[in-house]
């Protein structure tokens, strides 16, 4: 097993009584695109700031390729950051912004501007060097911030919700570009986001944060298919959480499980389930026609509701809307449920 790029060893960051990060253990592999996902206040940004060095852990240690960096100032860490607000220096040209790290290192003017031009090509902004940050759009500033960080060839690049301020279309385009740039430079990217779709699209692995704790670490499919806690099941995509009496009726155990709405099949006839299929009867309480698919709210005997999503392969809006109030049988493969404990 090669040395991890970043390793957290029992890292905590407390602000008075508030446990921003509580006893986090984490390994981020060399060269991977790693996302920290969670709602605001979940501790993901604090983790990022501790990796960058803007914040120090109250206890525990952080290692960068095996070296304990917990108490090093940011300027002594081989890590660079793309800030949420980009943090471009307003009094400098784009060129000088990107060359800043090289200038600090004492590189000659000709050499650093040569590298700046290469970087501007990489982020597809050739010829923008002489402008000021205020003359650029949000998306362009974002690329400059990326170039300014990458020009230093850091061991790890941190990205703090860098796409948050962009509109949807630009965001999707940047997601693809970021991923491509990460592949071409081969640097470990640590990406902080609250957008689960973004995390699922771009990451090799994801850590889901909630209330200062790491809930689960895994590949996007692990996180989606096998959520380890009710929180992960609810935060990443939509999920049906079933527990207690109804869970016992379906699986024979009261333990809480989660099932994704698209994994549930809806059958108007009460056919017997095939092998390895689980089933339960219910009544369609509500139907939302969404064009590509339809969302049903099915009430199960005993009170609980399940959300079911079906693609409109053959059905029309007339068909699905008339299904309201009908008795149905829901069934799904037993492998598609994920025990979430609790």
């Amino acid at each position: 097993m090669p040395t991890p790029a970043i390793q957290f060893e029992n890292v905590s960051r407390h602000f008075g009584d508030v446990k921003a990060v509580d006893n986090a253990n984490l390994e981020i592999r060399d060269g991977e695109f790693f996302s920290m996902l969670g709602p605001s206040g979940s501790g993901k940004t604090t983790c990022l700031r501790m990796i960058a060095g803007f914040d120090r852990p109250t206890s525990g240690n952080i290692f960068l390729y095996g070296q304990d960096v917990s108490n090093l100032p940011p300027y002594e860490r081989d890590i660079n950051t793309v800030f949420q607000d980009y943090a471009l220096f307003p009094h400098m040209t784009i060129e000088d912004n990107i060359a800043y790290g090289l200038m600090i290192k004492g590189m000659s003017k000709t050499e650093r501007y040569k590298q700046v031009d290469e970087m501007l090509d990489l982020v597809r902004l050739p010829g923008f060097g002489f402008r000021k940050p205020s003359q650029l759009s949000g998306g362009q500033r974002q690329r400059v911030a990326l170039a300014r960080a990458l020009i230093n060839h850091p061991k790890v690049l941190l990205l703090d919700e860098p796409l948050g301020a962009l509109d949807l279309k630009l965001r999707q385009q940047m997601q693809i570009e970021l991923k491509a740039i990460q592949k071409s430079v081969g640097i470990t990217f640590i990406f902080v986001t609250h957008d689960q779709e973004e995390a699922l699209t771009m990451s090799d692995r994801i850590a889901v944060f909630n209330e200062g704790r790491i809930q689960q670490v895994g590949t996007p499919s692990d996180i989606y298919e096998r959520p380890a806690s009710p929180f992960v099941a609810g935060f990443v995509g939509t999920s049906n959480l079933v527990s207690g009496e109804i869970a016992k009726r379906i699986t024979g155990s009261e333990e809480m499980f989660s099932i994704r709405p698209e994994k549930i099949h809806l059958n108007m006839a009460s056919t017997e389930p095939e092998k390895d299929m689980l089933c339960i009867d219910g009544v369609i309480r509500d139907v939302v026609y969404l064009g590509l698919f339809t969302r049903y709210l099915v009430e199960i005997e005993g009170g609980s509701d399940l959300v079911v999503v079906e693609q409109n392969l053959k059905t029309t809006s007339m068909d699905v809307l008339s299904a309201k109030g009908q008795k149905v049988r829901l069934y799904w493969h037993k492998d598609h449920i994920s025990r979430v404990g609790g």
């Binding site: 960058a52 100032p73 300027y75 800043y100």
Partner: protein
Amino acid sequence: MVYMLVVYIGSLLALLVNSFFYLEEFTGLIVRQFTLRTYLQLFSPTNLGIFGRTAGMAMAVTIADAMIAFPLAYYIARYASPRAKTFLYIAVTLPLWSSYIVRVYAWKLILAKEGIISWFFQLFGLQGILDGILSIPAIGGSSLSLSPIGMFITFCYIWLPYMIVPIQTALERVPKSLLEASSDLGANAAQTFRNVILPLAFPGVVAGSIFTFSLTLGDFIVPQSLGNSRFFIGQAVYSYQGTAGNIPLAAAMTMGPVVIMITYLLIARKLGAFDAL
């Protein structure tokens, strides 16, 4: 807006118009006729000396105030706790609540021959140093209060708040993320200060200098109360329009600082000082 035009611009225009009249030397009457001869008088050695002396003092005061104010403003903006910040802010602006003339006279006493400063120098046996400073030609004098040095000290004190406040405002407007970004890109504290903080706070310094420079340029109370008998612009204007009754020359003399300040403001605007206010 109309009020502004009539009262403010109007009086400035009256001033401008008056400066193009002249005083008939024999009759002592003002001749209301367009002429540039009053302006020509400005170029007499005495008047040029007055301009040079005043502008030199204004520049010296501005530079000294900037140097004193920056560390103070930096401390208030970046290191003081919120409570200490409020306290320091009040401490900086508190002198402005008291009468300016009272403060000038207070300094006159502090700097006097038997004043507290001389007393301190004597107490520590440093009388020689004080005498040495006062014997410097052009800026020395018989005592601190009767020398340009004393005037300089008083000016620096009086206008200091006007320098601290804009610098502090400019420093507080520097987003924390820029400092983090600089540090992130490998700059230590000194490099961040030189490359990020100082250039971004500079418009604040320029904004403050507008006050310290123009206020010194136009002041006549301090030169009258302290220093030697050499005139400053304010005093000259005061005496020309008063006892001498030479309104046109007083007006022309006033146009000097007005022109200097307009030029200064144009440069300051280029340097972004107005965004820092």
